[in-house]
Symmetry: C2
Subunit: 447 residues, 2 copies
């Protein structure tokens, strides 16, 4: 057993850290912690340095205290801060008190920033090159850099006070004349930099728009305090898309892989929205109660309620998903809402008309071929269904497209405009539209 | 007017290409083409080299033919292939026939691969270092590399036949002893490489898992024919997420920004799914017709149809979005379907029970406070609604979670399991569940 453990630990230590992480993720916490504890120190640190490691805080908590302190002292500052963010308060404080004073101070500085900001994901390990250096001296600094430095491709020329003079790339440095001053290499454009409080979304957009390797994080005085790398950005984009998909599906973001989420946590994340939607949808029961006498007179109208309501929900869901994504990509701005409204209203009318014609044809066929008898007024019923579909699909498209704008305007995440949310909104109004149209068309005959 | 054009073109040429691209994207095609035509050649090529440029094919088509050929000859091979993929056949052929023979051959090789593969996004410009070189000679190759080379951070050591010996990084090269042979630097692990037919999704996963700068694309004989860079991967992830969000919303992916999609194209992309869903949802009308005599006897049952059906749809949408994302991230595999089913069934029952209790309480309050009269059998009705909610929410969760697995198994994209698709599936079965439960509970009283 113990021999197996040592063997498996040695096997993982020899693998690529990213592969070792996958094997560790597949193990229960206790086994995984035992493997990490038996492993070569540098390999275990390498595993904790991987962003793909799931449950890092639980693993640290399950490793003997002394060893956990050593491992935490070894990992890169950004991963360390990430782990401490997830550690329960007391465990975190006990571990923190054992870290070297300098590491502790750095950790405090990183923990100061919320996780969704540049400061919250930056690493403090970066290569600073004094402004008075030559290119050759700059290359010497790169050569002497410790392996723990995440990237050597983005380099920062700083003055004696640590203020950022310019950002250059290793490519600039390698291709420049060795005797030239470092400040003369690279582009003459102003270097990109971000403030630590900058939302990660904006940093992402900057890095991917300008194809940067990293973005320097600069404090109010102009000193470089860290960098956000392109790897951080990829991880953040993937996490954010997961959140967005889950919001759109009508639930709180899990924040953890599906299988790693406990049954109770899963229920909690889903029950909230489900209950909220259920309570709003109760308005449909109230609306139906309001039309009870019409329903009793014309039961035939109830036959099409699910069909009509779902069409409104579907068109709303289409419009919402289009607008959420366009807002997320920055293709649309808040001020564009009226341009969208002017497109969605006619789109909705055309789409509604297509469905309306199909619906009316369906009723005609069933009636003519004797599949179902809609009564003597079947033509009026077909007209009611057709007209209601136009109204409801147009309303669905318009409401679905405006909801993300409204949410963004109110300071919420536009992706909260989930498909179920839109469907609920459209269902209640859809019933009112349906019965109003029915009342106009069928008055004096069925109603 | 013409002076303004020259000034604006000069202003854009001086800006960062990524900023110039945004300005060009905001202009109508004709104006944008005129700006590009009046611009300094190198700046115009730089703009066409940006992946963020919208409508590149339309722009090329609107630029005078001779100039368009010159521009196409200048852009990087991967962007050039991308533009030709979008050009209408005849225009494409006319332009292609004017390109230098070598460029044309390269273009043919790139166009051979479908756009969603490694071969379809790779660039053929990369740095090869002969295996017999020293580190110092390798650095000389980097120094002499043309500015058009996309990245110099990923370097490929090749033998005399061009076969990949190993992939090294510029970091490895800079930190190594200048006299050492290049083959000795870097990790001793086997280098990563992909085949040109490899789906882009897998390349993405590899690059982001192993934090690579680029992945070499190697043909069947082992020769490096191109590289996929991390920038390509970010662009591809963002595009793919857009597609996924739009599928989940229940429409075909637009493949272009919202505002850049014509009204007719928008209707086409949406009408297909909307009609398909409408036709399936017609089954609800058939189901309702089947229960018409029950509906006439107990109109009170119809009051809750929208409420009950939407709850099934919402729980299904939650489950689907969780599973789609977990499959996309590789957290779940096809073979995990039964583990998911074993989680979703009890989750669904618990969630359904929560809603069922709320629903029964709602009926009790309305009845007791005289807000609505559900008749003498109101307790039985409350029981029917409660029990139906348990059944339908459990069914929704189960069906919603299994649908993405089923689609993947059948070779479709699991993200086609849109919220509207699930809702439609659950609506029809939900009606049957509702009326069956009503029949059991209310038999002999209302029914």
């Amino acid at each position: 057993m113990s021999l197996d453990l040592t063997e498996e630990a040695a096997r993982l230590a020899a693998a690529h850290p990213a592969d070792a992480v996958e094997a560790i993720n597949d193990q229960p916490v206790i086994e995984a912690a035992r493997l990490l504890d038996s492993m070569d120190y540098a390999a275990a640190v390498g595993i904790f340095d991987q962003a793909g490691l799931e449950r890092p805080a639980e693993l640290i908590g399950a490793i003997p205290f002394e060893k956990a302190v050593l491992l935490l002292a070894g990992v890169s500052p950004d991963q360390r801060a990430d782990i401490f963010r997830k550690l329960p308060g007391e465990t975190g404080e006990r571990l923190m008190s054992q870290l070297p004073a300098e590491t502790r101070d750095e950790l405090h500085r990183l923990l100061f920033w919320p996780p969704e900001t540049a400061g919250g994901v930056m690493t403090t390990q970066l290569l600073r090159i004094p402004v008075e250096s030559t290119v050759a001296q700059g290359l010497d600094i790169v050569r002497a850099s410790p392996a723990a430095i995440e990237t050597v491709y983005a380099l920062y020329v700083v003055d004696a006070e640590g203020l950022l003079v310019k950002a250059i790339s290793l490519r600039d440095l390698v291709t420049a004349d060795p005797d030239a001053p470092v400040a003369s290499v690279g582009s003459s454009r102003k270097s990109f930099s971000v403030k630590p409080e900058e939302p990660l979304k904006n940093v992402q957009r900057m890095i991917s728009k300008y194809d940067l390797t990293a973005a320097p994080v600069v404090d109010d005085t102009g000193r470089v305090i860290g960098i956000v790398t392109v790897d951080d950005v990829i991880d953040a984009i993937v996490e954010q898309d997961t959140r967005e998909t889950q919001h759109m599906g009508g639930l709180e973001a899990l924040g953890a892989p599906y299988m790693a989420t406990s049954f109770l946590a899963m229920i909690r994340k889903r029950a909230g929205w489900l209950c909220a939607l259920f309570l709003s949808e109760m308005l449909t029961a109230s609306a139906m109660q309001h039309y009870e006498s019409e329903l009793e007179k014309a039961v035939v109208l109830t036959l099409f309620i699910p069909l009509i309501m779902s069409s409104g929900g579907n068109s709303g869901s289409q419009a919402t998903s289009l607008i959420i994504r366009a807002l997320a990509l920055g293709e649309l701005k808040l001020r564009d809402w009226w341009r969208v409204a002017l497109r969605e209203a006619p789109s909705g009318i055309v789409l509604g008309a297509i469905l309306g014609v199909i619906g009316a044809i369906r009723i005609t066929i069933w009636q003519k071929f004797g599949l179902f008898d809609y009564g003597e007024h079947w033509i009026l019923i077909a007209c009611t269904i057709g007209a209601a579909l136009v109204g409801i699909v147009a309303f669905g498209s318009l409401a679905g497209s405006m909801l993300p704008f409204a949410l963004q305007r109110l300071g919420f995440d536009p992706a909260s405009a989930s498909a179920p949310f839109v469907a609920t909104l459209v269902d209640v109004s859809g019933l009112v539209i349906y019965f109003s149209i029915a009342f106009v068309i069928l008055r004096g005959t069925l109603l």
